[in-house]
């Protein structure tokens, strides 16, 4: 046994050494400190921001008889021009004249400027060039003063923002209609407005060497599981790339199983959905520059939950949920079942239906499997064309396509009428479950191949493989098929059926929330009890 240990030891040492060499890593420049003289600072910044015509360096002097020289550096377009003029330049150039007479030449320290002169809310001090350039790039104005090696970083962000409009992906009939926009602060503000409590924590993270995208982790202290937050931070810090342009990029870096067609990170465009999920113990990841917000951990059942379900009556919400689940099964198993029924298990069909289908399939050139494949591909192309084309033309395409595909093909006797109905039903039902429709459009093909070769036996095993794959998925430590796979009885209230809100006493156990109890109010007031003065007795 000892020989094995020696072998292992040698191997471990080799692998560590290898790791050392091949990691060249751009050694971070030792953070160069600012120099006291204003000139050198300005020259250094000019050199660093060469060919950046949008960089503005405004030199001026202030203090009694303009004895103190200073320079204000900011990027035009990122900053709020009126704020800079009124709150920074104006007080410095004019008000500083009224310094108390006993001040001798200049200002004792830059802190004093901050305390007395500059009337802007958010101020920070920078020591190094790196911090300074970062501040400029993220929309702050930086004040350099002669004779001081510290710079004053004044937040003056103010760029063009899109107005808060109705989200495009998640249409809602009843319920709030505001959607996130590209600006990170506005998004966090929207969530703040929904959850007005100091427990709503927002942790900043900076990702991407080149793009330095700002990412915020939003969670509710006391509800979200600290281990989950630590895990998110660990995964975000592991991202070592130079460009993060949208939430989608981040999603692929931090998700549990990249190979799986199923999403394990939920994205949403509506603050009320995100607020609802935060209350259940999840954490949201906001990325600067994308109107989508990621929400982890995600369970499979969330594909069938829409934000509107909680705004409508219980019975209707439950029926819509069940409808979505059926739509999912139709879009996944529709074509495969058609092939299996028509080619392998004709005895399942009632006699009259079998005869009419046999009648319609008289003299058709293609076998059922090939026929289904052709129709599925054509509908897939149709759907893609409808989405990509600009709106007016998109509508036209889908109508023309449907007519041509459906009617003409049947009249010409290329395909049977039943197959057009089946494929159309499949396409429509895949629209009903938008979140999972990309996974469905892939797995549908697996089931079609299995159905063509082995009929219902193939489909059964294909479906079982999918279920096993789903059961093995984890999303940030939560089992993907949570209320069903590890069977948690009282989590079932919000899955296929949506129990009335007053019955939702606990948060989903799968997310390991810290505080399980959500509300104690159980049965609403009993309307039949006569109104005796005070409120109906509260159980």
């Amino acid at each position: 046994m000892s020989y094995i240990e020696k072998l292992l030891l040698r191997m471990k040492i080799q692998s560590e050494k290898a790791e050392e060499e091949d990691w060249d890593g751009e050694a971070e420049k030792d953070p160069q400190k600012l120099s006291k003289s204003l000139e050198t600072n300005i020259n250094a910044i000019k050199k660093e921001f060469e060919d950046c015509c949008d960089l503005v360096i405004r030199e001026f002097s202030f203090g009694k008889e303009g004895c103190i020289k200073a320079a204000l550096i900011f990027i035009d377009g990122l900053t709020n021009q009126p704020l800079i003029n009124d709150n920074i330049v104006k007080p410095l150039m004019y008000d500083s004249r009224f310094f108390r007479s006993d001040e001798t030449s200049g200002v004792s320290d830059i802190e004093e400027l901050r305390d007395r002169l500059i009337s802007v809310g958010d101020l920070k001090t920078d020591q190094t060039y790196h911090e300074l350039s970062q501040a400029c790039l993220s929309g702050d104005a930086v004040l350099l003063v002669e004779g001081f090696d510290k710079a004053l970083d004044i937040s003056a962000k103010g760029w063009e923002k899109r107005a808060v409009t109705e989200p495009v992906t998640e249409m809602v009939v009843r319920g709030p209609r505001e959607g996130f926009i590209e600006n990170l602060r506005t998004n966090t503000a929207m969530i703040r407005r929904k959850v007005k409590s100091p427990a709503l924590k927002i942790r900043p993270v900076k990702i991407g060497d080149r793009t330095n995208t700002q990412v915020n982790i939003v969670y509710i202290e006391g509800i979200a599981d600290p281990a989950l937050i630590a895990e998110i931070e660990r995964r975000l810090s592991n991202i070592d790339t130079d460009a993060i342009l949208s939430a989608g990029n981040i999603e692929q870096y931090i998700e549990d199983s990249p190979n799986s067609p199923f999403q394990t990170v939920r994205y949403s465009e509506k603050p009320d959905t995100i607020a609802g999920k935060l209350m259940e113990g999840r954490a949201a990841i906001l990325v600067d520059g994308t109107p989508f917000v990621l929400c982890v951990p995600m369970l499979f059942i969330e594909n069938f939950q829409a934000s509107e379900d909680y705004a409508v009556r219980t019975s209707y919400a439950t029926s819509v949920r069940i409808l979505r689940v059926c739509a999912f099964f139709i879009s996944l198993f529709g074509p495969a079942l058609y092939i299996a029924l028509v080619t392998y298990h004709q005895e399942l069909l009632p006699t009259t239906l079998l005869i009419t289908m046999a009648a319609s399939s008289e003299g058709l050139p293609f076998p059922a499997a090939l026929e289904t494949t052709i129709m599925l591909i054509s509908f897939e192309i149709l759907k893609e064309a409808g989405v990509r084309m600009p709106r007016p033309i998109g509508q036209a395409i889908s109508i023309v396509g449907a007519l041509v595909m459906g009617e003409a093909a049947v009249q010409a006797g290329l395909v049977g009428a039943p197959i057009v109905i089946v494929v159309a039903l499949t396409a429509v039902s895949s629209f009903a479950v938008t979140f999972v429709s990309d996974a469905v459009s892939i797995l549908k093909w697996l089931l079609v191949v299995l159905a063509a070769t082995m009929g219902s036996y193939g489909i059964t095993l294909g479906a079982l493989a999918i279920v096993i794959h789903l059961a093995s998925l984890r999303s940030f430590g939560a089992d993907y098929l949570a209320p069903f796979a590890p069977f948690q009885q009282d989590d079932l209230k919000d899955t296929v059926i949506r129990a009335p809100l007053w019955a939702m006493r606990t948060r989903p156990r799968a997310l390991h929330p810290q505080d399980l109890k959500r509300q104690s109010f159980e049965i609403p007031f009993d309307p039949t009890v006569a109104h005796k003065g005070g409120q109906g007795e509260k159980k």
């Binding site: 070592d240 990249p258 028509v342 080619t343 004709q346 070769t453």
Partner: protein, 411 residues
């Protein structure tokens, strides 16, 4: 193979890349898919809809030479059926079915023989009725039935029929309402509950009755009759089998007697000729049960209990039959009528010495030990068997009218 795990600065923990883009894994997946697609080529047991001959009825007749069997199958021709039932009943439009027959030594070889004459494969899952001609039934149909029970396509709830003359003609009957004789006969058979004068027997019932050794299996009979130039089929009587061979027949009344005794009767219309004229009664609910009773001296008596409930359907006597005394009188008459029917069936069964009622089976169930003793000479035992019948009829209502409409009845 360059390790393509994402290079992580020393400070951060090394996140083991889950082998997403690992080329080896992709190679494995490709190989497995190839394996699967390869299997796609061979078509195995795929059957396209338009290569199927959907069989809805099968008939077995005697072939020309002795020992040969002619199997006729009624196949749907889907093309014509789309045009709907021909309204004017003119036989000009092409028939929605085709009767194909083949003659061979046994049923199975005949069925396989079809591959020589039709391009389509015979598909028996939707077969609804199975008709044997009387000659074939008399020679014994068990070997032929075995072919249908063993094949995994044919179902066990197929109806069994014995045709008085040639079975193939049954399938050619001209009918107006339906398009397919097979559907017509099958649905007619299912509707027999309303007159309970036919025994509705499926393949499974027949096999069960045959397995029990003592009971004589029965099967409904069907015959062709001619009215104004059209040949039609009619359900008439029941065939009685022993050791798989048909030994006799029961007429309609005797079949109803059998139904009363075995509790299978549901609805029945009974006409009573009272001294003043005819009264028709409609029996709506009927229950029958048989129970063997062991007398002290070891012999068995079968206690038959029949309970029937019905209404007065028509009253030609001009008398008020809804009066209490008259209804009492009617009830006795109906009880007498049912007793007579059961008696006639019993007498006929005893002459054929075929226990169609299943008395032997009842005795075996309740007294297994005694049954062993009397099993061998059950035929003689059955002919000496005494039965006492308790028939209880209740006439619930006399329809919408009480007294009948009689000329001058208002005074």
């Amino acid at each position: 193979m360059k390790k393509n795990a994402s290079k992580a600065p020393a400070g951060k923990t090394k996140q083991e890349c889950p082998g997403a883009l690992n080329p080896v894994r992709r190679a494995v997946a490709a190989l497995l898919c190839a394996l699967m697609i390869l299997s796609l080529s061979s078509c195995w047991s795929r059957r396209e809809l338009n290569t199927l001959a959907i069989v809805l009825a099968t008939a077995v007749d005697e072939g020309k030479e002795s020992g040969e069997l002619k199997v006729t199958t009624q196949i749907v021709s889907p093309g014509e059926i789309k045009s709907g039932p021909s309204s004017s009943g003119s036989s000009a439009s092409k028939k929605a079915y085709a009767n194909i027959d083949n003659t061979d030594k046994s049923v199975i070889s005949a069925l396989d023989g079809f591959t020589h004459i039709t391009n389509r494969k015979m598909y028996f899952s939707h077969n609804r009725i199975l008709i044997f001609s009387r000659e074939v039934a008399q020679k014994g149909i068990l070997e032929d039935l075995d072919a249908f029970t063993r094949n995994y396509e044919t179902r066990m709830n197929v109806y069994l029929l014995i045709s008085k003359d040639k079975a193939a003609d049954i399938l050619d009957e001209e009918i107006e309402l339906e398009q397919m004789p097979a559907n017509h006969i099958a649905e007619m058979l299912e509707a027999q509950h309303s007159n309970s004068e036919t025994a509705i027997i499926t393949l499974l019932d027949f096999d069960i009755a045959f397995l029990s050794g003592s009971t004589a299996p029965v099967a409904p009979m069907i015959e062709m009759y001619e009215i104004d130039g059209k040949k039609k089929a009619r359900l008439e009587g029941t065939a009685v089998f022993k050791q798989g061979k048909m030994i006799g027949e029961l007429n309609v009344a005797q079949t109803r007697g059998l139904m009363w005794a075995t509790g299978k009767a549901e609805r029945a219309t009974i006409t009573i000729d009272t001294k003043d004229g005819k009264v028709d009664l409609l029996i709506i609910h009927a229950k029958g049960s048989m129970k063997p009773v062991k007398a002290e001296d070891g012999t068995f008596r079968i206690r038959l209990k029949v309970y029937a409930e019905g209404d007065i359907e028509s009253n030609e006597t001009g008398k008020d039959m809804s009066s209490v005394e008259n209804t009492e009188m009617l009830q006795e008459q109906v009880e007498e009528f049912i007793r007579a029917e059961i008696e006639s069936t019993l007498k006929h069964a005893k002459t054929l010495s075929a226990d169609v009622f299943g008395f032997g089976e009842a005795i075996r169930r309740d007294y297994p030990k005694d049954w062993e003793k009397i099993k061998e000479n059950w035929d003689s035992e059955f002919s000496g068997l005494k039965t006492d019948m308790e028939i209880d009829v209740k006439i619930a209502s006399s329809g919408e009218m009480g007294k009948p409409v009689v000329q001058g009845g208002a005074e």
